[in-house]
Amino acid sequence: MDNHQKLHAIGRQLQQRWLFLRRRGLAGEIFLVASGLAFLATVGARVFGWPISLFWLYGGILGLALLVWAGLAWWVRVEPLSVLIAADRTMGLEERLSTAYEYEQQQPDHRFVPGLVAEAEQAAARVDARLVFPSHLPRRLWGIPLLLLAIIGLHRFDMTPFHFDDLAQDEASKEVQREGKRLEDWGRKLEQLAQQEQLDRSLILARHMKHLGRRLQREGDKGEQASERISTLSQYLQRLHQELRERALMSESGAMAVQDILASGKSAKQELQDILQLLRGDTLPGEMKNVAEQGIQRLSRQLGDNPELQQLMQDLQAGNVSAARQLLQDLIQKQQAAEDMEHLERARRALQYSARSLQNDKPSESSTKPQPSQGQQPGESGEAFDFGDETLSEDMPGMDDFDTPGFGEDHGFGRHAKQGPKRDLRESEQPVTKVPVKSGEGQMRLGYMRHLPLHNEAKVPLEQAVVTYQQAAEQVLAQEQIPRGYRDQIKQYFLAIGMAASETQAAGQEGAREE
């Protein structure tokens, strides 16, 4: 019985040793995984700016790891027979311990058991649990201190915010970054306004401005030229933003006017002329009166609150057809005068631009560029910006759309006509600034048109040309049974199948006979 107890004792000793090592190994593995998770979370928090509280993060990971380890440590079990087999194997005991334990447990009355257990007792004296289950640290657990050091390193160095595509950020000057950021912000605001107003071209422009701002932030310091250019673009964007905001204030009436124009397909001038046609007679029937009133209402929505249109509506409602007709004729003439003025203005600008281009050829004048004063709004300063700048038209597709009548101009019935002297200094009157930049990715519009040749282009009538070419083709076909390009291939084919050879031999034989 004493021997049995000793055998069991060595079994328990081995069991405890194995469980200790196994649980320790599990703790190491779980702590390694937890360290990895903590490292990843730290990277996310410190580098990418994830909104995670590090106290709760590390606490949560540690708590979870402890919970998992406790569960696994409780679940891990080992039978005494298994550790005794391992001891037999490691110590070279020729299965004495395991056989004795098994037979003592299962067949205690076996007549070999006493001798077996006695031998096992002698063998157990040589068993050292540390030799059976040596303690060794898996190499992968060395990753734990490395991960912890990495976490500490992440805390020591501030890396937020970090973007992998901003590797050249250190080289960029602060001024360029600031201006680029400013440009991006304005582009974003402009994009929102354009979306509200459903202005597609402005939306495209705004997005382009935004991307340009981002790109300039990444480009780094390219010298003063880039900085100046950014400044110009930024101020220009401010102006655009102001204009769009003003447009947004008249959102309802403006939108209705656009819708009316789109529905009727008429311009203001055409609408005025239609109403004038209705007012030819001295009296106005009821239906025609209604049509005229609807036309005036559409004009009012389209052009805004105009006192002349209000007067026209009052005259019409009062039945004063002659006064209304006279007023209409004045309005049409005014509209016509505005359009003529616009054409003249365009021509003047073109001439002025040509003259400045000639002046810019001189090197002394090309480097001068006025800088707007800091904090001064472009509209307030009276300085407009150069819409005809090559840099703008080159880098910003759609910029030409803003150089159209009615947008930032002083003509017609638009509400801008009331702004008066603010628009006296036009952008085209600004000295031209030439900033050498790298050409961006512009959009290219390609159009294809298929058309018949013009009457003067054709030298020969079609019928004659067809007949000539048809005759030539038939002549070629009549002369050659085998197309010239296929002659060699066909000859090689027949040589390959032997027919040409036999023909050659036959020809040779015939030649011999003739000789």
């Binding site: 550790v83 391992a86 056989t99 031998e119």
Partner: protein, 336 residues
């Protein structure tokens, strides 16, 4: 008698047998040990070796040392089954009445030497089948039990293939072990020359009786074997089958049929004998490994590819012993 005393006596007795045989047979200790193992397990042995290596002398020496009835049958192509198992002959009594009486053949002996067994026809070879497995002989419907212990020691020559009839697989499987008698070393040859060229003839002393052998056979079967050791033997035998999950790549490629269940029985019993030889009370994994080749090599049937490439089944078993894990997956993960 106490078990420990029995085990000690067992070891002493068979050490005496080995010593007696060693008087005549030089070297071949593993072959002698294999023969004794077969004897104690109640199995039969097949000795294979080129002529002149002392196979017949070894068996004769064993018979002399064991004090058992010994008979020798020289197998030839014209040998008939009746020449082995016996036949009924017509006899005449005193009243001149004739009657049939069974005349036992040479197989009715404790120790039968079937010399050059592969020279006999398959019909004659198969006459030994019943005797080897059932230890009985049936003639004319009458079953005749063979004396106990019954032990067949067959020899065959692997070189001369002309006029020989290879043993069928069924009969091969009935041999407990196949022992290869190898060529002696220089020192052994020198010793052989000294012993056989002297005028003096050595005589052996019978050290074991029939009862002692019978008692030893019973003791062998009581030796404990742990379950994981038994599992190892089973996995080893299963690994000789090409479709087994334990089979190695070479087994899958070259083996047509693996060992029969007699292979496991042979492994465990031979392991028990080896444990007792080493005066242990239990079978170890080393015991199983030590007896694996002689117990299994004649039970593996190679396929055409294996035969064509000259693969030895013993090499396949050695390969399996190196590759097969000692412990099952459960214990293996324990120590990893």
């Amino acid at each position: 008698m106490d078990v420990q005393d029995q085990v000690i006596t067992f070891g002493q007795h068979f050490q005496q047998v080995r010593d007696e045989i060693a008087k005549v047979i030089v070297g071949h200790t593993d072959v002698v040990e294999g023969l004794l193992t077969c004897l104690l397990c109640g199995g039969h042995a097949l000795l294979e070796g080129v002529p002149g290596l002392g196979k017949t002398l070894l068996v004769k020496s064993l018979g002399s040392a064991l004090h058992l009835h010994f008979s020798r049958i020289q197998f030839t192509p014209d040998l008939m089954p009746a020449d082995i198992i016996g036949t009924r002959v017509v006899l005449q009594d005193e009243q001149e009445r004739r009657y049939f009486e069974f005349q036992p053949g040479p197989v009715f002996s404790n120790l039968v030497l079937a010399d050059e067994i592969n020279r006999a026809t398959p019909k004659t070879q198969s006459a030994l089948l019943e005797a080897m497995q059932e230890q009985t002989v049936t003639v004319a419907g009458t079953e005749h039990p063979l004396p106990r212990p019954f032990f067949v020691l067959a020899t065959q020559n692997p070189l001369e293939m002309d006029g020989t009839y290879p043993l069928p697989e069924a009969q091969l499987d009935r041999f407990f072990m196949k022992l290869n008698v190898t060529y002696p070393s220089f020192d052994e040859l020198s010793d052989i020359v000294d012993r056989t060229t002297q005028s003096e003839t050595l005589s052996l002393e019978a050290v074991l009786t029939e009862d002692t052998i019978w008692e030893a056979q019973r003791l062998v079967r009581e030796v404990p074997i742990a379950s994981h050791v038994k599992d190892y033997a089973i996995r080893l035998v299963m690994a000789t089958h090409a479709d087994s999950p334990y089979a190695s790549d070479r087994v899958q490629r070259y083996v047509r049929y693996g060992s029969s269940p007699r292979g496991v029985q042979g492994l465990v019993l031979a392991g028990k004998v080896r444990a007792l030889f080493n005066r242990r009370f239990n079978v170890s994994l080393d015991d199983i490994r030590a007896v694996a080749v002689p117990c299994l090599r004649h039970r593996l049937i190679l396929n055409f590819e294996g035969e064509a490439e000259g693969i030895e089944s013993a090499d396949l078993i050695t390969d399996l012993l190196e590759r097969l894990p000692e412990q099952a997956m459960r214990e293996a993960t324990l120590t990893s």
